[in-house]
């Protein structure tokens, strides 16, 4: 049996117990996922040099923390969590999106409840329900990734493979209009979010 015959998870076990050729096993394991990670990083960064740097950091981190993979999930899913976290961390080390807070002025128009700490969780739940009932599925995804994680719209377009002319921007514009209309209706009825 060769390394190529082993599953990803078996290769991780082999790395742990290997007395020799440990690097050869790691190389086999990682090489299986080079293309997958490269594609993600390219879509996230938008250029191949930055993508190669990001992908290198991903595999470096995977190499360092390989012992923490317990086999509770597929290896590719474990690798995905590293790719995703490393990508978001890189964003957070850079500047936030230019239109960060201003875009949600519509929601700001709704007065918050006074007892802040006690009601914060409930308010977050209400906001979630508000977004769930106001936006469609794709708008919600774009909304969460852009405002929740700070992902640039171009990256979201590539990662979610949005092939319409203006990509994620169209969904954000549409979401903002819907949020504005919905909050307007609530205000007209004298209701709080």
């Amino acid at each position: 049996m060769t390394l190529a015959d082993l599953s990803d998870e078996d290769l991780v076990d082999a790395v742990r117990t290997a007395r020799a050729d440990r690097e050869a096993i790691v190389n086999e394991l990682f090489a299986r996922h080079y293309e997958r990670v490269a594609r993600w990083c390219l879509r996230f960064t938008g250029d191949r040099e930055s993508a190669a740097d990001l992908a290198q950091d991903v595999f470096l981190k995977a190499h360092r923390h390989l012992d923490s993979f317990k086999g509770h999930s597929r290896f590719s899913t474990w690798l995905y969590t590293i790719v995703r976290n490393e990508s978001i961390s890189r964003l957070q080390r850079q500047s936030p999106p230019a239109d960060g807070d201003a875009v949600l002025e519509e929601i700001a128009a709704i007065e918050p409840a006074p007892d802040e700490l006690a009601q914060r969780s409930q308010r977050a739940d209400r906001l979630k329900r508000f977004l769930a009932t106001t936006l469609d599925a794709l708008e919600r995804r774009v909304f969460v990734l852009h405002y929740g994680d700070g992902m640039p719209l171009e990256a979201i377009s590539r990662l979610l493979r949005l092939d319409n002319a203006s990509g994620a921007k169209a969904y954000i514009v549409s979401a903002r209009r819907k949020v504005a209309r919905a909050t307007g209706r609530l205000k007209a009825r004298g209701q709080e979010l």
């Binding site: 690097e23 293309e35 190669a52 290198q56 999930s73 995703r84 802040e116 977004l131 919600r140 969460v144």
Partner: protein, 236 residues
């Protein structure tokens, strides 16, 4: 927008303890998990991204760039990435490194003053291939001594139980030029290093052999070579 509304919205868009962990996505979800995902924009977003990663279906315009990145990863994997992962200095914080650099600079100045008062030691002649392996001593094959042309590879003798090697190349003042890791007893010098191997300039290198537990089992000590003034530097 009020700070509180912004804060609440950010809170609403983040994962909560009820959110389904990504590790569960590959398995059939329970009814409760599915119900949560159906109503949670965060989980739906995570699921969409994870599916794109897992399926990894190529887009028409990215094939060449992806293949370039894959090739680059393969090239780097033999070099800096693994070296950094195994670096014995990885635990050093930038602050400690600055202090270490200052102490190192003092040591270099002191050593330089000493060397100025002493004759340069003769370069070891490595034309004799009778190198033999001794315990904890890793013998090198090449390059060492005066060379007629710039080398493109570093080679050494394979010690028993060696699984991988850490290799470092320095200027004579110990300024690092290059560091890499190899699983075989030979590495190719990258063009960026070869370009610096100018005639008359001495260069140092070291290799350490590691066993399967990443413990150093043999060391070469500092090796030195120099391209003779009549030699040539390889072109890229």
């Amino acid at each position: 927008m009020s700070d509180r509304t912004t804060s609440d919205l950010e809170h609403a868009l983040k994962a909560t303890p009820e959110c389904v962990p990504v590790e569960r996505f590959a398995e059939p979800l329970s009814a409760r998990e599915q119900q949560h995902v159906d109503g949670c924009a965060r989980c739906q977003s995570e699921l969409a991204l994870w599916r794109e990663f897992e399926e990894s279906s190529p887009a028409a315009d990215e094939g060449a760039a992806v293949q370039w990145i894959v090739a680059e990863l393969g090239r780097r994997r033999g070099g800096e990435a693994v070296a950094a992962a195994r670096s014995p200095f990885a635990w050093l914080t930038p602050g400690i490194r600055r202090w270490a650099a200052a102490v190192g600079a003092i040591a270099v100045i002191t050593s330089g003053a000493y060397l100025l008062s002493d004759r340069e030691p003769a370069v070891r002649d490595l034309s004799n291939p009778a190198a033999s392996y001794r315990t904890n001593r890793l013998d090198v094959r090449a390059p060492v001594g005066d060379l007629t042309s710039a080398p493109s590879t570093l080679e050494w003798v394979t010690p028993p139980d060696a699984v991988s090697y850490d290799i470092e190349v320095f200027e004579v003042d110990r300024t690092p030029l290059w560091r890499t890791t190899s699983s075989i007893s030979r590495v190719e010098l990258p063009p960026s290093v070869v370009r610096q191997l100018l005639p008359g300039k001495a260069v140092l290198w070291e290799v350490r052999a590691l066993n399967g537990a990443s413990q150093v089992i043999a060391e070469s000590g500092t090796q030195r070579f120099r391209v003779a003034l009549t030699g040539s530097t390889p072109k890229d």
